[in-house]
Symmetry: C2
Subunit: 445 residues, 2 copies
């Protein structure tokens, strides 16, 4: 085995990550080189959803970050002070770090990245923002050739869930919050979410990457959704808007305000980017790409020159999604650690040589939409249904929709069928004297 | 200067790329190391939108790919056979390649990547699919820890533009196509777009990356949109669907069909992934994430385990967007070429040390929504308008929306204002005897 992980924490995200790494088939082959070497937990007695050898589990987290055998420390324990000190100690001991901890990075990123640069190690944080959505890596590696104008995110699933339900049900904030807590979509203490603090942590991280400068968390303006009323949601609706908790980082270059502005509150050089960073409930025009992001989903819209607008959408939380992000950071580190002078980075090179096996279309399983023109006589729908039944084609709906001249028009939508079976049914249908033609045949996703 | 580019072609994409690389301020600092060393064109006499020294422009493309000084060949000339042979020659001469050429990669990727692996060079192709949208790199580097189930894309802007207009205007395919050609959204010969061939090239590339096996283009089923009628769009609408040209690559593992399937048509090992790959017009439920992707935009939805669904959205074509993708590939190669054993990959490490300058909220320029409760007396709206005018706040709308008990409710939406000015206007408004309270104040994006 190549690369040894020391994982700190075995809660939701830690368990998801271990499950992914214990089940490597049909994932990237480079994961084969990853070994779960130590997992630090608070108690050895707690029942676990994953099975790990006794030699791997330990309550001594300090020993993990000091163990010379550990290559990468994966911090998925959460919290602030303890996580911070373990990350720093890991860095001092020359270990690369993967963390999902937005609170630690947004508060102590300065200290952590300074230490990491001095030690020559990486600190990776894809899971800190947007759950499983790849957004940190695209910002660093793909979009940074652009001049970024604006990063606008729906990056807190709890508040988006609450606002979506207030919008669709017309409920009050406090009632919907109580129900969200009951259903597990909001924490017993909802402060970090509903007051915008979690989103503030995340936009501070995104802003730092998008604009290439550090951010003091206290400079991020943050306003939550407690004061959003159903009255305003209704008026906003009439005016053509929905209300979303947006986190926004924006270059101030186009603002008229910059000419005579006051002194900044943080140390910065004259060439440092001038930006605004803020979290607040916002009226969003219904045609805006973020207006239709509903429920616990997250989305990050990035605008820059020359790219225009790109948006990343997906699950903003959850064990599986976050484990995907944590594991992708591990994968990138494994690739980066292949330090041979001649070998290509396996993530940038094309590795596979075999061909995929392609399923013939006749074996494809899909739904179909078909439109028939038939003689206007009784029993035609029954005859169509019989033909479909003969070939095992199950129908979702069959409707006579109207007439074209003297011919009746019938529209059919099927359940999932094998395409070959469906086409055999159509062949039989074309032999029916009542059927004139089949002008349309489309698949349904 | 560090890394020397030989650019093949100076059409739309080549020009956009040169413009980006000639204007490096506020882009990633690593671009400073990139030098436009040679640009190969068909004619030296053609007027150009970019200025390049005479020593850089040449009509001898063969000389570029053989020049020992060139580090990276950027193929943005398009076409098939000439592009293929120049790419292969560049690889044989040990040069890394960046290409935007989906047609060459989907047809000759086998030969090209085999040659690249033998020569130990990279072939990068972010611009080949989805224009500026980062999707190749996320698939390779972020999402490959997942077992991918399905990649579903709207990856041809022309057909999506035509279908969107047929949907909104109720037009016929041939009429909308003619208008799209007149407006420059469709080519004089629209075959590659409307018959699904361009989308087939692109889904072959995405499928290969998502499932880790090569794809023969002839195995990709392709059906275009010529036969989509306005009648079917209208019926689909009534049934709750929109019609989109989808490109789909799907793991066949969950299909019932795989047990007794026929022999595959391409060489593949028993462990090769079994997938279906296809392009066809498709009924998409209105609540599906791809249903609301309209006009020339592209979107790629990726579903996998454990991540769930993620979607990438943005401009699928255009000089700027494609130049962003080409340049991001160049940036990644520059980072990968820093082969020092101790230096970190600058794209993965955190490089910036200065703080951003943060604009105080009072200097933020934004739109506002405000709700007022006032006494029900004549002239109140005029008084509000006067107060706003005193502070330079321009209103988009001011409406008396109803009553709360005896108080009139007035909703205001402003144009862009400086937040400090707006708040001063509110302070003045609160002194008006006619104004009871300001229960809501929200920003508008």
């Amino acid at each position: 085995m190549g690369v040894k992980l020391g994982i700190l924490g075995l809660g939701t995200v830690g368990t998801g990550t271990v499950q992914l790494l214990q089940d490597k088939s049909f994932r990237h082959p480079l994961l084969q080189e990853v070994e779960i070497y130590r997992v630090g937990v608070r108690s050895l007695d707690k029942p676990r959803a994953v099975t790990l050898p006794d030699s791997v589990l330990t309550t001594d987290l300090e020993a993990i970050v000091s163990d010379p055998a550990v290559d990468i420390v994966v911090e998925v324990m959460g919290g602030l002070e303890k996580a911070r000190s373990l990350i720093l100690k890991a860095i001092q001991n020359g270990k690369h770090v993967v963390t999902a901890n937005k609170a630690v990075i947004s508060r102590f990123g300065d200290e952590i990245f300074t230490a990491a640069n001095q030690a020559g190690v990486y600190v990776m944080l894809e899971a800190a923002v947007g759950g499983g959505i790849p957004v940190i890596q695209p910002l660093k590696q793909s979009l940074s050739v652009n001049r970024i104008h604006t990063v606008t995110g729906i990056i807190n699933g709890t508040t988006n869930y609450i606002l979506t339900r207030m919008q669709t049900e017309g409920g009050n904030f406090s009632d919907v919050l109580a129900d969200a807590q009951r259903l597990g979509y909001a924490e017993a203490d909802p402060t970090a979410d509903v007051d915008g603090l979690d989103a503030a942590d995340k936009i501070a991280i995104l802003a730092s990457l998008a604009f290439g400068g550090r951010i003091k968390l206290k400079d991020v303006y943050s306003e939550g959704i407690r004061q959003v009323s159903k009255t305003d949601i209704a008026y906003a609706e009439k005016l053509g808007f929905v209300i979303k908790l947006l986190a926004i980082a924006q270059s101030a270059a186009p603002l008229a305000a910059i000419a005579n502005r006051t002194t900044p509150s943080s140390p910065s050089s004259p060439s440092s980017p001038l930006i605004s960073v803020r979290v607040h409930p916002t009226l969003v025009p219904k045609a805006h790409p973020l207006a239709s992001i509903n429920g616990v989903n997250n989305a990050i819209l990035i605008e820059g020159e020359p790219i225009g607008q790109v948006m990343f959408f997906g699950p903003g939380a959850g064990a599986g999604a976050t484990a995907s992000a944590v594991s992708s950071d591990i994968l990138n580190l494994v690739a980066a650690l292949k330090k041979s002078k001649t070998a290509l980075n396996p993530l940038l090179a094309c590795a596979h040589q075999d061909y995929c096996q392609i399923v013939p279309m006749a074996e494809l399983v899909t739904r179909f939409y078909a439109r028939f023109l038939t003689k206007d006589q009784p029993g035609v729908i029954g005859k169509l249904g019989t033909c479909f039944g003969n070939h095992g084609v199950s129908l979702e709906s069959i409707v006579q929709t109207g007439f074209q001249g003297e011919l009746a028009e019938i529209v059919v939508v099927t359940h999932d069928v094998q395409e070959g079976d469906f086409r055999q049914a159509l062949t039989e249908i074309q032999t029916l004297t009542a059927v004139d033609s089949i002008p349309s045949l489309l698949r349904v996703v």
